[in-house]
């Protein structure tokens, strides 16, 4: 039977659903891809793409990395500020390598592309650091 003040149990359930769904809205899951190109032994191009995941990623977090941060939630900025750590970490995760070399009339030119394929990372933002862990 409905009381005059409203259905408390229903509103409580609704609030709980909203709370849990907001926690589970994948706000801390990011899709990251990284790629750089080396042309004739000189670094030519580098690109990093970071996006919030719009669907829940599957898998369990593995081998996390702690990056220093100033408390913000901008993952791309945090990664850019800690690029050396991130790149050495990415090398451990594994990169796809694509190398092409052409020799025309004894003149050589080469292009090497290293790519981190789009990977879902679980990210925990804290006051002084952010912890990123790939989901596998």
């Amino acid at each position: 039977m409905r009381s005059r003040d409203g259905n408390h149990s229903f509103s409580r359930r609704l609030c709980a659903i909203i709370l849990f769904s907001s926690l589970a809205l994948n706000a801390s899951e990011f899709l990251v891809s990284y790629r750089y190109m080396v042309k004739d032994a000189i670094l030519y191009n580098e690109s990093l793409f970071v996006s919030k995941s719009m669907r829940k990623c599957h898998g369990t977090p593995h081998d996390g990395l702690i990056l220093e941060s100033d408390g913000g939630n901008n993952l791309k900025k945090i990664i850019s500020n800690n690029s050396d750590e991130f790149i050495s970490y990415v090398h451990k995760l594994g990169l796809d390598l694509n190398h092409k070399e052409t020799n025309v009339n004894y003149q050589n030119s080469s292009t090497t592309i290293l790519t981190l394929k789009t990977t879902c990372f679980k990210v925990d933002f804290n006051d002084n650091f952010a912890r990123i862990s790939p989901l596998k």
Binding site: Y36, I42, K92, G94, L97, N98, E101
Partner: protein
């Protein structure tokens, strides 16, 4: 006529003798690889032990060459890891703001080169070549090589940077289980 008959007989005898020699001489592959015993005697004859017996293994030289060839190759055994080490090189661009930036960029290029060398060793290289010949002359000679691989768990051992050239020594340890999946 008489001379030709004598010549024919001589030729027949010589070919028969040559066949006999060829049958008597064993080839290297036919040498039995069995251990034999030899007797070593003191040269002046006044040793306390007058003689001792030593076992000597007679090895076919062809087999020995094949065995050493197999040992020289980098092969991945089932119960032993294989370490592959390479040195990649990278060059700093001309228009850098600081030596630190030049170092960072050259190192990135050197790491990519080291990865490529590892991939070449582990997976191999695909090679295509074209030669254009016109009026009996080579007009254009083209060689294209491609490498494609996925590499993980490679470690940087040492990095050196001198005169704008960065060298990165990198190693990877392969185990049989990595390929058995």
């Amino acid at each position: 006529m008489k001379h030709s008959l004598i010549l024919a007989v001589l030729l027949g005898v010589s070919t028969f003798a040559a066949d006999q020699v060829a049958q008597a001489t064993p080839t290297l592959a036919q040498i039995p690889a069995q251990p034999s015993s030899i007797k070593v005697v003191c040269p002046n004859g006044n040793c306390s032990q007058t003689s001792e017996v030593q076992k000597v293994e007679v090895v076919n030289p062809i087999e020995l060459a094949q065995r050493s060839k197999v040992q020289d190759d980098d092969t991945l055994e089932e119960n032993a890891n294989l370490r592959i080490g390479v040195v990649g090189q990278g060059v700093a661009p001309m228009n850098t703001d600081s030596p630190a930036q030049a170092y960072a960029l050259a190192k990135r290029a050197a790491v990519a080169d080291a990865y490529r060398l590892i991939a070449e060793k582990v997976k191999g290289v695909r090679i295509e070549g074209d030669d254009l010949i016109k009026n009996m002359m080579v007009k254009r000679s083209t060689v294209r090589t491609t490498v494609s691989a996925m590499i993980r768990n490679a470690n940087v051992v040492e990095t050196t940077f001198k005169d704008g050239l960065c060298e990165v020594e990198m190693e990877i340890t392969l185990s049989h289980a990595d390929f058995a999946r």
